[in-house]
């Protein structure tokens, strides 16, 4: 029984150790600014098209789903409010995080994983650089900066998607009413959780991606395994953590 529990407990311990070292090193020199900018480009600019697409259609499909329910109560005027609340609080942050986990947690795991199995990480240490500083920290910082921005973009295009369905397509409401209810529905509290979530998700995605990359073993096969694990674990944690954050905010 204890033998079954040992590997995951040891892995969790390793993960905490990596997370601790990465976070402690955030303010410590040296800072590899070039690597941070490069990662922001890969994660931010690279994910933008797919974030635009998923954001737009999730807003559109929300409006579509809600149209029937709302018309039963004669409340189609409220569609803007429903779309904006669900996007800003939950759908925007979670969908963007899952997209970025799929693209970038896997990218980090496979890149660091191939560096690990070809001894490039050892070479880095042998040649005077700390892989946590040079590889993990830039990815952590870049994701933490970029994911909240991507989430804001997703929220906005989601609202546009909802608008396209609600106003020109189904004529549920007027443009003025849609944007008005959408805007007024959002409270300070919603914006706080809408931005806190992507920040926490970013830390999860970057650390999980780097963690599985850095502990890769077993050649190219191992790289494939690390990549899959990173995406699965990062995505699952996003859903689990969003539950707990929401739980806290609902009680406020």
């Amino acid at each position: 029984m204890l033998d079954i529990l040992k590997p995951p407990v040891l892995a969790l311990q390793d993960f905490y150790s990596l997370a601790g070292r990465a976070i402690r090193n955030i303010v410590r020199r040296p800072h590899y600014y070039d690597d941070i900018v490069l990662q922001m480009d890969i994660i931010g600019v690279g994910s933008l098209p797919i974030v635009l697409l998923t954001g737009f259609f999730s807003g559109a499909v929300m409006a579509l789903q809600m149209s029937r329910a709302l018309s039963q109560y004669g409340a189609t005027g409220q569609v803007g409010m429903i779309v904006s609340i669900s996007l800003v609080r939950e759908l925007g942050p979670v969908l963007t995080a899952v997209v970025v986990a799929g693209r970038n947690a896997s990218g980090m795991a496979s890149e660091l994983g191939s560096m690990k199995v070809t001894e490039q990480i050892d070479a880095m240490r042998a040649l005077g650089t700390d892989p946590i500083q040079k590889l993990v920290k830039p990815r952590l910082i870049a994701t933490a900066v970029v994911l909240p921005l991507l989430t804001i973009v997703a929220d906005f295009v989601g609202l546009v998607g909802g608008y396209v369905v609600a106003v020109p397509l189904l004529s549920l409401t007027t443009a003025g009413e849609y944007w008005n209810t959408a805007w007024r529905a959002i409270e300070y509290n919603d914006i706080a959780q809408g931005l806190l979530k992507p920040l926490v998700f970013a830390i999860i995605i970057a650390l999980v991606g780097c963690f599985y990359g850095m502990r890769t073993s077993g050649g190219t096969q191992g790289v494939g395994r690390a990549t899959t694990q990173a995406v699965v674990v990062a995505s699952v944690w996003v859903f689990v953590v969003t539950f707990f954050i929401t739980r806290v905010f609902v009680n406020l």
């Binding site: 490039q120 040649l127 650089t129 700390d130």
Partner: protein, 272 residues
């Protein structure tokens, strides 16, 4: 006066998942020594080299690098000692996102002890690449080079800071005999021109034989056999044979060739 101790293993044991990969290893190298470590695949050669520069921590025993006990040092303190050690990793371990120039410049840019000006770095990189006869590859990426060329770039990167100790991990593994000899020739040249202490890890006895009996002649730029008239005493090549994490043999070439141990003699006979 005895020469300064460069590398010393005292009863070093390394275990992974409770399995010993190195088991009670002890040896010492002094300045100017050449050490050839022979062993089959999986015998622990790579682990031994990584333990020597603190990339792997021993679970028992002590490692002294340049006279400093490194078993308790943290990563930051190790960087300064590693800066005095060049390493060629098994497949070269070049950074494939960087050009050849950036790869060779990496230790110059990143080692605290080696900080230099931009122009100076460029000159040193070119000089080091000229040494391995690859000066024309500056702007290429590692993926554009052949296996043998990648090892040569790896050598250039290992020696660009002129470290007094250089470790070579299986530099000839997977190469054709001609390319393999080119690589060993470079190792001999580096050893004799820069007077570096050298550790060569290999599966090929031939490599050790070359290292023990050939030296670089700076007058004609050739590697020549040692003629025996007075030269041989300056060539202090020691052979270590590693078998499943244990040292089964330590001695010079004559002793190695005379060894009755079947594992040891299989190494010697297979290649000659």
């Amino acid at each position: 006066m005895p020469e300064q101790s460069i590398l010393r293993f005292e009863n070093v044991t390394v275990t992974f998942d409770e399995i010993p990969v190195l088991d009670g290893i002890s040896f010492e190298m002094r300045r100017g020594d050449t050490c050839v470590i022979l062993g089959a695949a999986g015998s622990g050669k790579t682990v031994l080299l990584k333990t020597a520069i603190g990339l792997i921590k021993p679970s028992a025993g002590r490692v002294f690098l340049f006279g400093t006990d490194i078993t308790e040092l943290d990563e930051q303190e190790l960087f300064d000692l590693r800066a005095k050690t060049g390493v060629l990793f098994q497949e070269g371990a070049l950074f494939d996102s960087l050009t050849i120039e950036e790869n060779v410049a990496y230790p110059l840019v990143n080692q605290r002890a080696a900080k230099r000006k931009k122009r100076e770095i460029r000159e040193l990189v070119e000089e080091s690449l000229r040494f391995v006869e690859l000066a024309h590859t500056l702007d290429k990426f590692p993926s554009e080079l052949s296996g043998g060329m990648r090892r040569r770039v790896g050598i250039a990167r290992a020696i660009v800071t002129e470290p007094p100790l250089v470790l070579y991990d299986s530099p000839t593994a997977g190469l054709d005999p001609i390319t393999a000899n080119t690589i060993v020739t470079l190792i001999i040249k580096e050893r004799d021109v820069k007077k570096t202490t050298t550790v060569l890890v290999t599966q090929r006895y031939q490599d050790g034989h070359l290292l023990a009996n050939f030296r670089y002649n700076p007058r004609n730029g050739q590697v020549e056999p040692v003629t025996g008239n007075g030269h041989s005493d300056t060539l202090k090549t020691r052979f270590l044979v590693l078998r499943q994490g244990r040292l089964t043999f330590v001695g010079d070439q004559q002793q190695l060739e005379a060894s009755a141990d079947p594992y040891v003699s299989k190494f010697v006979k297979r290649e000659i």
